[in-house]
Symmetry: D2
Subunit: 241 residues, 4 copies
């Protein structure tokens, strides 16, 4: 029985300031993780050396693999993610997005995702993630939308309400919604990670002959709508009558 | 035992053209749903009357509730979503986003989400969703990022790789990646919906006294970093040395 | 001498509520236009019938042209834009973007932009635009980023600080930044439109032989960096040393 | 007569690879600048040391000013921008956005923009900018939308079609649209910069008494729509009839 162990969620702290709003919200998310029966570890990205990705995939997609060839702390950080069930990225909003350091970290995650080329599987497949951002002005949803679509593209689950933000100059602890939502980012990420634990593979590789079958099937299915094209002109008329 | 029944996934077809790329990819996603043991229903949004939201929440947040007061087909469409375990939005890319009709449909979903105000729960909470978009140029990721962050904010899960897109003028069936990804959007959404079935509540409401406790806790936790501020100036120096 | 006439800026009002925050900010923008020596007209999009685009370009890119074949008020609205020097889109934020009605209007602008196919020129080329959005929560920058990249792709200039937003539940007139910025959206759009008046063509069509020349030129220019590839491995080493 | 001097446009090269698609498109944009009568300088961001912003503004908005206190090459790079009339950011697409290094550069531009706090003027006010991105997959419009809204918020003009992208694995020189658009990014940026040269101030500071007047004016203007609210319920009925 695998589920007796608590899930482990990594809290990635992406601010140079350990005493600011991001820090406050990350500790609240940590409580949410605990209350969902999980364990957590806070990782301060600014305590590590994370050099920038220099885009090996642009030279040859097969060069890029994990562990990354760049010698710094990234591979150790990535190991923490690999041994976890999920992670939460908490970052300040710098110009409607995450800071350059966090972006560099994301760029380096390519080495985990690109293992698809080598083994058919992203090393981040099936992890669960959530996002917390804080700033004193706009850009919160833009930052989070960016993180969501990027991590989801690497094979990461985004459970319901995996987002919290604070976007005014007031103290974040005056913002009950941000506090409650941050708690829930932790709570829900841990709950989801716990619920789907043990499922290793999500993307189903499709054999070539099945791919052909799928294509024939969809052509057949849409063929019944070729008459539609004529009806369409009626529709045009309908719109104009 | 509730899980013996197949999960039901709604395929929301958001194109005026029933014979185009969106249609082809939606049938392929349908196969993915079936292969994951689920059932599906294709709903052609252009076959229904969907009037535009006129923003009752801007007058008074308490006015907006489900069923929506606007008399058209929306409430029946919404009922389909409510009786489902998840849904997939498949749409053409019109200027880097979904068409106005699909946006109108999303705007109207407010009546489901805003039940938070009345009952504490979004009616979309815990549904699982995926996204397929198609166009002959750019804007695919921007469209999908928009859909992800919006639906996630309504309480919807986004499982791994819940995205597929086609963004060139060539026939979509020449694009094996789009075909394989669309299949997997169906497959993974159904698999996730099946896996988390029966979990009705995800967001945990926080009683006021616990909210206070959380705030005190985080102040305590970040206090240990007040010395950090001084260290920070060392950090500044470190950067400059 | 063409510049003795005032520039004309259309204020597109994209809210169903004529008495709300969008209305307040639009009147303030109107003052900015006047103060820059321009004239304005407020157009309430909700007073017109704007049917949805049904994507003729997806059937055949050559079908779509202005005037649009759909019979409703769009062509008259478009005429207002064509006779103007610029326009400002002011809209409420519905789920991190503009309402479906405004999106439908944008979708229909395709008929103006797609004239590139027929005459080499977008009918919106050289217009100047600005953007004002208002909501009681997040999504302001995401809405504006969407509008900017879309209109710019149609050939529209976006002058400095062509954006204003309000994103809290407080009355918008308490938000001096939003008021000042909205004024300046009007002021700057009119100022820019006035400054560049008379320039009809911006995009320069490139003859085939010049296109070939450009390609040869850039190959030559980047060739000098082929040695770079080797140096690159030194760079790799540099990073790792 | 101020216009006898050619405008100067900086081409910011944001790729670690000097021989790739970004390099090719940047040389083509350079030709566009020349053909518009401008001069250019290519600046390879990867040749300079650009440390990351550590967010002084989060501690106290007044700390941040130009020149930035961090000792590296940024202030010299910024000087190039300040002595120019405009700039073009050309970058590869790393996960639907610019690479971390380019993001770090953008973060550091805060020191130029934040001079608003000190002098009322962003040091980037009135510059003209354009954007070129290249990748072998999706994310081009998302990257460009991000750059547009960010630079525009710093006071930078975005002229018509200030965007070019390449988003397939084929050689960029096979993509005539990308080549022609890149040329035009250079051409149009230079043309616009030339046209508006000499205009130093765009944002108009509003004295307090005028701010009050504006607020009264807009209240008066929207008051005439209070009857609208009642009409609105008729509108509701109209929608439902």
């Amino acid at each position: 029985m695998v589920n007796y162990m608590a899930v482990k969620i990594i809290l990635l702290h992406g601010s140079p300031r350990k005493y600011g709003a991001v820090s406050k919200l990350i500790h609240i998310a940590a409580k949410g993780i605990k209350d969902a029966g999980g364990e957590y570890e806070i990782v301060y990205l600014y305590d590590y050396e994370i050099k920038e990705c220099f885009g090996c995939v642009s030279d040859d997609q097969r060069i890029c693999r994990f562990p990354c060839i760049i010698r710094d702390d990234f591979n150790n950080l990535a190991d923490k993610l690999l041994r976890s069930d999920g992670f939460i990225i908490a970052a300040p909003i710098y110009w409607y997005s995450v800071p350059g350091r966090v972006k560099n970290f994301i760029d380096r995650l390519t080495s985990l995702e690109n293992m698809i080329i080598h083994t058919g599987r992203s090393l981040l497949e099936g992890k669960t993630a959530g996002f917390i951002v804080s700033g004193n002005d706009s850009g919160s949803i833009m930052s989070i939308a960016y993180l969501m679509v990027t991590l989801n593209s690497m094979g990461v689950h985004i459970p319901a309400w995996a987002l919290a933000y604070h976007h005014t100059p007031e103290d974040v602890l005056e913002d009950d919604q941000a506090v409650s939502d941050s708690y829930n980012v932790g709570y829900i990420v841990a709950k989801m990670a716990s619920r789907i634990r043990g499922v290793k593979e999500w993307y189903k590789a499709i054999p070539d002959n099945y791919l052909d079958e799928l294509k024939k099937y969809t052509v057949e299915k849409t063929r019944e709508f070729t008459w539609q094209e004529k009806q369409r002109y009626k529709y045009y008329e309908g719109i104009n009558s």
